[in-house]
Symmetry: C2
Subunit: 453 residues, 2 copies
């Protein structure tokens, strides 16, 4: 892997070509859990991590014309008792190639004309707002020089450099191992929580964290299901959406769905193969210049076609997609950017995900699409088609009326043992096409059955 300070220098130099105002990025502070000494694990702001490399709490960096200044306080002498010897500000500055290292209080005299991006925690964005004398709220779109900075950072972070890719490959490899462990652990597990433990155990063993709260559930139809208390029944499918994050913050994001019994029922396998066909078709289509929105529509088309073949949908697949019939079963987007954030740069709203001038569709089938840009080499995206029987959608009276003759509800009821299936991989756009960073994890139904037995 390239040397850290060299990598950071290159990123700064690229930034210098894009903006000519100084940028100050705060790392953020530690969030108290139930009392101050009992805190959530620290997670530095991703923008800070991109340019500072290390997860330093309560630090700020100032970047101007390719130069890096580090502002942080040395640990209090008494902290050596509790936290051991910590590197000094100057040692850290050397490691990350900072030209100057100063106490945090000195930042006050280096604020003029600086752009920034708010950190996520209130202590930090309040401080940023006070110091820079303007409201810097994480939920508000950036404006003025802050918007300029955001756009410049986006253009860099969209295209991963070699250092980033080395980290992303590590996260992907550990995530693949975690999913294999989950499949292996399933036959003996009684609860979702046990499979989750087997998977996160692999990530923790490699001294990584999860890049988001894991979804490990027999109720895959609940898209963001963060509960793990359900018992595993032989006829269930288990959907596991679990990803690792390296110590420097780079993420993976992978989903597999496997049968608790070790064997898909014929109905489960039929639907699984439809989702897999969409997954494979989308990945095959990824290459520079292709619109990600078109990949989403391809998935919609393949799913619609597959459901027609199974007799669940009736009609021409093009028409079905146009009337969002696929979205009854595949209500989310085909994927998103992946990098330091599992939805990369989503702290900036759709600024990173959507090409300038584009906005979210209000169509049911497109409104949840998080990425709408042409693909370029170096972009890392997820491809994650799915099929779900969401009661809130399928039991909705308006929906049932609108799609009365489109969905064969009778036929659909035969697939009651398929509540949710998703197959998700992390795909790098290359000069010639794509590379699946998580390709070592099997995706076909037969391979999955082999692993979960």
């Amino acid at each position: 892997m390239p040397n850290l300070s060299h990598t950071l220098q290159q990123r700064r130099q690229k930034l210098a070509k894009l903006i000519d105002v100084p940028a100050i990025l705060w790392s953020g502070s530690i969030n108290s859990r139930n009392f101050p000494a009992n805190h959530f694990p620290f997670r530095a702001s991703s923008h800070f991590l991109y340019f500072a490399g290390l997860p330093l709490p309560n630090a700020a960096i100032r970047i101007e014309a390719g130069k890096l200044q580090l502002f942080m306080d040395d640990p209090h002498p008494s902290s050596a008792l509790w936290h051991g010897e910590m590197p000094t500000r100057h040692q850290i500055a050397q490691q990350i190639g900072a030209d100057i290292a100063k106490p945090l209080a000195e930042l006050e005299s280096h604020l003029e004309g600086a752009a920034t991006i708010p950190a996520q925690d209130a202590a930090t964005w309040t401080q940023q707002s006070q110091l820079l004398n303007r409201w810097l709220l994480p939920q508000q779109p950036p404006q003025g020089i802050d918007l300029e900075l955001a756009k410049a950072i986006i253009s860099l972070r969209l295209i991963h450099d070699e250092s980033a890719l080395a980290e992303l490959r590590q996260a992907a490899a550990v995530t693949v191992a975690a999913h294999k462990a989950g499949m292996v652990a399933t036959p003996k597990a009684k609860l979702e929580a046990e499979v989750r433990a087997a998977m996160e155990g692999v990530i923790m063993s490699d001294n990584m964290t999860t890049s988001y709260n894991s979804i490990v559930t027999v109720h895959g139809e609940v898209l963001h299901n963060e509960q793990y208390h359900h018992p595993l029944q032989p006829g269930d499918l288990l959907l596991a959406d679990v990803g690792a994050e390296t110590e420097m913050g780079w993420a993976a994001d992978v989903t597999r769905t496997w049968p608790v019994s070790g064997k898909f029922s014929s109905t489960q396998r039929d639907i699984y193969d439809v989702v897999l066909a969409a997954h494979d078709a989308c990945i095959a289509k990824i290459c520079p210049g292709v619109e990600y929105g078109d990949i989403h529509l391809l998935a919609a088309m393949v799913i619609a076609e597959g459901l027609v073949n199974l007799g669940i949908l009736q009609g021409n697949s093009q028409d079905l997609v146009e009337m969002d019939a696929h979205a009854l079963f595949f209500p989310h987007g085909i994927g998103h950017l992946l990098g330091l954030d599992v939805h990369d740069m989503e702290d900036l709203g759709d600024l990173a995900g959507y090409e300038e001038g584009r906005i979210r569709s209000d169509r049911f089938g497109l409104g949840y699409l998080r990425l709408n840009r042409p693909l370029h080499p170096g972009m890392l995206v997820t491809i994650e088609p799915g099929f779900y029987q969401v009661p809130a959608i399928l039991n909705n009276r308006e929906v049932r009326e609108k799609y009365e003759n489109i969905v064969n509800w009778q036929r659909l009821s035969q697939f009651a043992d398929v509540r949710g299936i998703r197959i998700e991989d992390d795909v790098l756009v290359t000069e010639v096409g794509s590379e699946v960073l998580t390709a070592a994890l099997p995706s076909t139904a037969s391979e999955i059955e082999d692993l979960s037995n």
Copy 2:
């Protein structure tokens, strides 16, 4: 386990006897991690949990004269897609025995004269401050009616009721299993992280969380070591301070120290036995009426005596304790309160830990004592003596001069393979003495060796 709503009703009725102003307790909000949709797991305020029972985000309860009002918003209809069907406000109200359930916005007309305790997250304590029109900062001691409320809650939470004990026993049992798994996993582990994963895996498998960031380290001399990257070497001792927390928030807190090789060296065993002697003596002394501060001093005495016997300290143990010589190796307190928080009610500073009128000592050997009260039946405390060779203490020139003839530095150097040992259990004060909730976990060196082989 007693019925939840009945338990909560009893707690409210006890509170009503102690204060006559209404109390409003907020649960707190979800902390964003790197972007809003990627958040830390929610942890409700412990005071809220004590009276509301369930970890409901963005909720508030108002308690007056034994009556319970619940203020929370029903989930947005669209959330069913992402989070499934959630219980309504009214269903939750029924479960917890609330008399009334209203939208959060209606809280505004029920604020008058109400006392509160600030939640830990800034979004919530800012809102509390605005609504109640006074600063409610988590780091500031409560005043006025808020202080009255805090004192009333402390007097309740100090003495655990049966429901609390049922939860605390569950947390203890899972924690015992986690430590056993850690010992069993050690021979095959190469990194601290792998042992941590084995331990937290047990906790996660039981659908619990850790009640604090685990310490699993071969550098036990760093008291709050939250790093897990060190390789395990055959001559190392591994110190693991890991505890489970139930879904309702009740904590356990246990430490064991075991040899990576499966066998203590003779020097390690010598020191281990000193720490164990202190541990056993303290537990034997626990009974109603005893001062916890005296338990701390007993530990200091036993450790000093043990170190004299090993030739590490020179002199009379009483004198040694008076000059804080034991604290060179045992610089922290003998333990703390345990309940919904691992340092129970530490969000209120020393208000819970210190009997009214007492303040922290400025003596090196006593300043870190977190609990200084007479013991009462129903109190749960940790007992956690330790021995550490902390470079920041032992290499300090003033220390070496002051204790030049007290410590046999030459002799001490023969114990270089003992960097840190701690033995910690959770001990309930009973009517007649004490009950160790974590007694199922072996603590003698021989038992530990048996488990880690």
